[in-house]
Point group: C2
Chain length 257, copies 2
DNA sequence: AGAGTGTACCGTACATTGTACGGCTCAGGT
DNA sequence: ACCTGAGCCGTACAATGTACGGTACACTCT
């Protein structure tokens, strides 16, 4: 991430690219779609920060600078990658609403699907999301995910807040899991090996201090999950708690009505 | 982020540094504490990725490579920065538990405090947290935050899960807010200006497609908050929903007992 | 068929990064 | 007075994103 600072993506240019067809090949067969595909494959293997324009070009047997004919820069490329991976999230606009269990089942389904993408493409966590979220696939996703919450008596703002809450939880938890995996890969140490390595230092260094609750709970958690965190458990615990909370809100609304 | 790949921090070395006193100055007055302080100040201004060893050294009127006498590398430095900013989170180990409103008030207090640090030091979001979390301040923080959940009938694992849920929510929401601010700063465009700029392109490009629910809700949200997201609202909505959910769990436990 | 033109392609150059390496300098002990 | 080890730092290197300017090909028009 050095050089000319990876200039912030131009929104209008990104939009045009996002909604374009991406299919007109140049004279060497280079396509926006192909570039995005190669970039995604590379990012899946090594992460976003390890992804370089040179690597993408090499994989496509093309000069590095040729990419810039089709894509303005790395920023816009990641925007495209982002929209792309959300393309096949749902079979159709009513798939979540079709799940058994009403709105609750639908939200569980949505959470699971989002978890799956995040797990398959951990680099998503590194993409600055805020204003890019207007590609065709993202917009469709937003629509699809809101539908099961429609007609429950919630206001529009509450529908959005509820969905955001669930998605933020899934994202945060998935991020922690991805970080754990990446750390293991980078260091070549499993959680257990790592613990064994720092344990003596920690004992030496912590002597004298005492944290009664943290000590007890930390030990329990470590024994229970064989690790310092268990993302799968955090996901389901958090999700069911959140859904319990939302149920109260929804019930209070339908009671009034 | 080029060069020698910013080598992953050595856990044992980090631990020793974290728990060390950091106060023995070299012959030019250079201290680990001073380095960490300068790095934090710089990161507050420009973010973690804009922070470079050269910048830190310049601010301290010291040669770049002198830093490496005190700190093994950038990775370990960020570990130290991370632990440092969590140092003054709570006045003492029982401050959260002392808040009015029982465990609920305590968790609200904890959420607010975490939100404050995250807002003051947005670069925290970029620090890989997983295995670093064993510095003295982090450990103390964990202990302090668990206390209000002790003695409510929850198991150790449930206590940890509940706390994690709240903190994940705060972190995810704060991250979204930080991203929003950073995007605004980078582009020099307020949300409103940005919208005005892409609006024509978007209309052109979206003609033909129609997303009924997303369109309606998106418009409502935009009008209500004058923005595409409102982090403060997301924080409080999510927090109260989560606490409602946790209340059910806690009540069910005390009922059994 | 031949000429002209625009666009796809790409080689080189540059600023910026983290840090390995090896030399210099000074404080403190003998 | 001298030696030693630690603190300090100048230089070098590999890697990054991309600006710039040149080359070569697929067309269209005569």
């Amino acid at each position: 991430m050095a050089g000319r600072k990876a200039a912030a993506p131009d929104p209008a240019r990104s939009l045009a690219l996002l909604w374009g067809s991406h299919t007109k090949p140049g004279r060497s067969g280079l396509t926006v779609r192909a570039i995005v595909g190669a970039a995604i494959a590379l990012a899946d293997e090594a992460g976003l920060e390890a992804l370089s324009m040179r690597m993408v070009a090499d994989r496509l047997k093309v000069g590095t600078m040729s990419l810039y004919t089709h894509v303005p820069g790395k920023g816009e490329l990641t925007d495209l990658m982002f929209d792309q991976v959300y393309g096949d999230l749902y079979a159709d606009a009513d798939e979540p609403a079709r799940q058994p269990g009403g709105w609750r089942g639908a939200l569980e389904f949505i959470a699971r699907r989002n978890w799956d993408v995040l797990t398959a493409h951990p680099w998503i966590h590194e993409v600055p999301t805020m204003r890019t979220a207007l590609g065709p696939n993202i917009t469709r996703k937003y629509d699809t995910e809101l539908r099961p919450l429609d007609g429950l008596g919630l206001t529009d703002v509450e529908m959005d807040s509820a969905l955001t809450l669930v998605l933020t939880h899934v994202q945060g938890t998935a991020r922690a899991g991805a970080e754990q995996l990446r750390t293991q890969r980078d260091s070549g140490l499993s959680d257990e090996e790592w613990w064994r390595q720092i344990s003596p230092t920690l004992t030496t260094v912590m002597s004298g201090t005492h944290f009664p609750v943290a000590g007890r709970v930390g030990t329990s958690v470590g024994e229970h999950f064989q690790s310092v965190i268990d993302p799968a458990h955090a996901l389901s615990f958090g999700l069911s708690t959140i859904l319990d909370g939302l149920a109260q809100l929804i019930e209070s609304r339908s009671a009034v009505q």
